[in-house]
């Protein structure tokens, strides 16, 4: 991959109680690169993303952002999180705030922007992603697809240098998936560095520069999507993809 790495994971381990979820992950994502993580539920995709956003402390290993070790003690986690946007499967919008409130909270409180500056930033994003008419709506009046687009915009409002997308279409009705994926395509076109956990194989094949197959807490196989999807080497990858094809999802 060209370019210097935006984020690097070195020998990352994480367990919950006796369950080893991540068992030694090494992964570097270059600037402007889009990396998709695929694998069965429970293979560690979400945990990996949560670790990068420092929502989960590591048991071993380290993570670097632009060469700085962010998992070291004494690092200001709030500063790091402002650099990294994350979007969750279940949107997690703040139900007591309007769309505008959701999107401006981070810029105002974490970045210290004035209300006017934060709103200008939000309006710019609403225009770019077709959400102008939802500006003053509350989350529970929006469709799942709209909520997820707002969640993406909320993360983007901090102007992160890296976006983590955690199965952002898994909770959506099928007919709402496309609008969300189109937002991600638009981001990729704009050169956003992204690490994406997804079950949408066709989407991964289409958007990813590189695909990583996670299995039982390790990256079993990685490569360009064309190779991973058409001629996977590892038996486990072949098995996984065969099941996906069988389900008519690829």
């Amino acid at each position: 991959m060209s370019g210097k790495p935006a984020v690097e994971l070195e020998d990352v381990h994480k367990s919950f109680g006796r369950t080893d979820v991540l068992r030694g992950i090494d992964l570097a994502v270059a600037e402007h690169e889009v990396v998709c993580l695929i694998g069965a539920s429970g293979s560690g995709k979400s945990t990996l993303l949560r670790c990068v956003n420092l929502l989960e402390p590591l048991d071993r290993g380290r993570i670097l952002l632009d060469g700085e070790e962010i998992t070291a003690g004494g690092v200001d986690v709030n500063r790091v999180r402002r650099e990294i946007g994350i979007v969750f499967q279940s949107y997690n919008l703040f139900p007591h705030m309007s769309v505008l409130g959701n999107v401006t909270l981070g810029p105002r409180k974490a970045l210290g922007l004035s209300r006017a500056a934060a709103e200008a930033r939000a309006d710019e994003l609403f225009a770019r992603f077709g959400l102008e008419d939802k500006r003053d709506a509350y989350p529970d009046s929006l469709s799942g697809g709209q909520q997820q687009r707002v969640a993406i915009v909320r993360a983007l409002a901090l102007r992160p240098r890296l976006m983590l997308l955690d199965e952002i279409t898994s909770a959506l009705d099928p007919e709402l998936v496309a609008e969300v994926l189109n937002v991600v395509r638009e981001l990729a076109k704009g050169g956003m560095t992204m690490l994406i956990a997804t079950h949408e194989m066709a989407f991964a094949r289409d958007i990813a520069d590189r695909v990583c197959f996670l299995d039982e807490g390790v990256i079993l196989e990685e490569g360009p999507p064309a190779r991973i999807f058409s001629s996977p080497q590892e038996p486990r990858t072949q098995q996984f993809l065969a099941r996906i094809v069988e389900a008519g999802r690829l």
Partner: protein
């Protein structure tokens, strides 16, 4: 049915005279109503401090990490102690004990110490209500706030607490109703409030009707508030169902 049993009881005529005497009621009511203002003043003042102190206790208890362990323990100990002591005892202890110390610079007003006793007890209860509210907010909300770079305090202030408080307004009102009734306990200290006044009236008239007048005053206040609380609960449930 119950009314029939009571009205047909052998001694009904005497009880009627003792408890339902219209003349005594009319005579005593204005003074009791006047004294009831003290109750109102007491619970309104106390409630303000209760809501603030309890929120502070609940937030202390939800602080994360080992650094704040001592503060969490302190807050837990507070709620354990003041929920465990009967209110009547605390009113006695503070109302007679503290002024008895004759410390300079410390208020000697028994109204003041009665209010303090009620604040201590009720803030322990209300802190638990707040805590239940905080814990009912799904951790993903705090995670979303933190992922935006907000500090723990900011995510509490802007994301968790606004939702938590909204959710616990009905139980808060329940405790507020409890507090209103418990203002009668300060009669023990000789503070002339509605219940104390009805004791005085009752002794003067050799008749128990003044107590009925007091009970009526309390009901006039608590029943509308109870109905309002029920309405809020029903509304919340409707909203939750609509969302699901």
């Amino acid at each position: 049915m119950l009314v029939l049993i009571v009205v047909n009881s052998p001694n009904w005529e005497e009880v009627k005279e003792q408890f339902f005497n219209w003349r005594v009621f009319k005579n005593s009511f204005p003074d009791i109503a006047e004294a009831f203002k003290t109750n109102v003043k007491l619970f309104l003042t106390a409630e303000v401090f209760i809501l603030v102190l309890a929120l502070f206790l609940a937030v202390l208890r939800s602080l994360p990490g080992p650094v704040f362990f001592p503060l969490r323990v302190l807050s837990t100990a507070y709620t354990d102690v003041f929920r465990g002591i009967p209110t009547i005892l605390l009113v006695y202890l503070l109302g007679f004990g503290v002024p008895g110390l004759q410390l300079s610079g410390v208020p000697n007003s028994q109204f003041f110490w009665a209010a303090v006793a009620l604040v201590l007890v009720y803030s322990a209860y209300v802190a638990e209500v707040y805590r239940a509210g905080i814990e009912s907010i799904h951790p993903s909300q705090a995670a979303a706030a933190r992922s935006l770079g907000l500090t723990h305090a900011q995510s509490m202030r802007y994301v968790v607490l606004p939702q938590a408080v909204r959710r616990v307004i009905p139980p808060l009102l329940n405790d507020f109703i409890g507090l209103q009734k418990d203002t009668a306990l300060v009669a023990l200290l000789g503070v002339v409030e509605a219940f104390r006044q009805s004791q005085i009236e009752s002794a003067g008239a050799f008749n128990h009707t003044p107590y009925l007048a007091t009970a009526l005053l309390f009901l006039l206040l608590t029943i509308p508030l109870t109905r309002f609380t029920d309405w809020l609960i029903a509304r919340n449930r409707r909203r939750e169902l609509a969302r699901a």
